[in-house]
Amino acid sequence: MGAELLRAKSLYCERDDRVLFENLDLQLNTGEILQIEGRNGSGKTTLLRILSGLSNNYEGEIFWCGETLGEAKEAFLAELVYIGHQPGVSAQLTAEENLSWQCALHPSLDNSKIGYAIAQVGLKGFEDVPSYQLSAGQKRRIALARLYMSSAKLWILDEPFTAIDKLGVAAKEALMLKHLSQGGSVILTTHQDLSDSMPVRTLSLGKPQTEVAYE
């Protein structure tokens, strides 16, 4: 088992008077994939936003490499790639323009790999097309292209495979395995099953609710 990267202690979060999770402990070591499972609305995205430091709407403590997130904020952000529910791709900009701004924001992304990353996600030939002319899957691919340029340790991915085709998912899985072998780790949510070869640990959110049939 690798060294501890991220640890959360007794997280508590409520939203609109509904408790999403309480007393939630989790630990992520290097070389691990943690998949957050749960029904729609069970708080997966909220948890990812809390873990990435975007949301302060929680109680409990989060540690990055042993230090609290507040103290280690800068070191933590330097090692983080977060691809959220909204992929962070400006519709009016081309793939290349989007990625080069991302590189300026995140020094962990390698500026010289933009061309390579665009080719890897299958957008070669679309570099100069404004993103609004691309399909939903292609837009998400622009966001995912960041993973090919990143040297960050922690990837937090919220539904990364939405609208991505099977071949694309397989390529991303291979990329994740490579990332793990280099001492990185991944937290993700997805409703698609990852292939069995992936070393995935799962965390289930939400109480086992009884299905209410309305029909």
């Binding site: 800068e74 977060y82 992929p87 962070g88 791709v89 323009e97 300026a104 995140h106 020094p107 404004p130």
Partner: protein, 230 residues
């Protein structure tokens, strides 16, 4: 320069360039404030009185109010698109100083609104029969005053970006802070017309700008964090 300074400088340049490119691709947002400015100033003589003496007396205040309102109009879009497509989250997760990104965005916004307004203001002034002596005062006061409007407005835009209809709220939040700029700006033009010394007004406008430049990006950054966190 250290690597860090280089990368912060690059961040500023890249963000600035990105926002300019975005503004030019969304033409309507670029042109709207200018058109609004033009409409207010052209309609006023028609609606009130075309008497040159009357208009000349009104011109400093009218041009300043029109510039202020059209800046206000353009503010809502400052962070809106970035909020909706998730770019704002990426921006907040950058280990780079948020201050610089905000400053770059506001500078780009000012270039598109405040500076453009300053450049067309002389034409508006001629339409309103502003005496020629007032021109330098008008240009300089707008040049010093409109960046302050953009900087202060950014705080309001950041606070309301998460709300569905933030436009009205921005006005309520920001207008009280705009009033000093309006007072000193239009008084500078009045003073220029009557031949009084202008130094004091420009010093005050400059002081407001310096204050806004130092504090507004910090407040805007904090406001963005609150808006995205919610």
């Amino acid at each position: 320069m250290s690597d860090r300074q280089v990368s912060v400088g690059r961040l500023f340049a890249q963000t600035f360039k990105r926002d300019l490119v975005l503004a030019f691709r969304r033409k309507s947002e670029l042109v709207n404030p200018l058109i609004f400015f033009l409409i207010v100033v052209t309609l006023f003589p028609i609606g009130v009185s075309p008497e040159p003496l009357f208009l000349a007396e009104l011109a400093p205040g009218l041009i300043w109010v029109a510039a202020l309102l059209s800046t206000l109009l353009s503010l809502e879009s400052l962070f809106k698109a970035d909020f909706e497509d998730g770019s704002l989250e990426q921006l907040l997760l950058s280990p780079q100083p948020l201050f610089m990104v905000v400053l770059a965005k506001v500078t780009a916004h000012w270039l598109m609104s405040g500076l453009a307004l300053t450049l067309v203001a002389p034409i508006m002034a001629i339409m309103l029969f502003l005496p020629a002596e007032g021109m330098p005062g008008l240009m300089l006061s707008l040049l010093l005053g409109t960046p302050t409007l953009s900087l202060i407005g950014a705080i309001g835009a950041a606070l309301t970006v998460g709300l569905r209809r933030g436009g009205v709220l921005i006005s309520l939040l920001v207008l009280p802070l705009y009033i000093p700029v309006l007072i000193f700006g239009s008084s500078a033009v009045q003073a220029a017309i009557t031949g009084l010394p202008l130094g004091g007004y420009f010093a005050l406008l400059g002081a407001l700008l310096a204050l806004a430049l130092a504090l507004a990006p910090l407040a805007t950054g904090a406001a963005l964090r609150i808006s995205v966190s919610g």
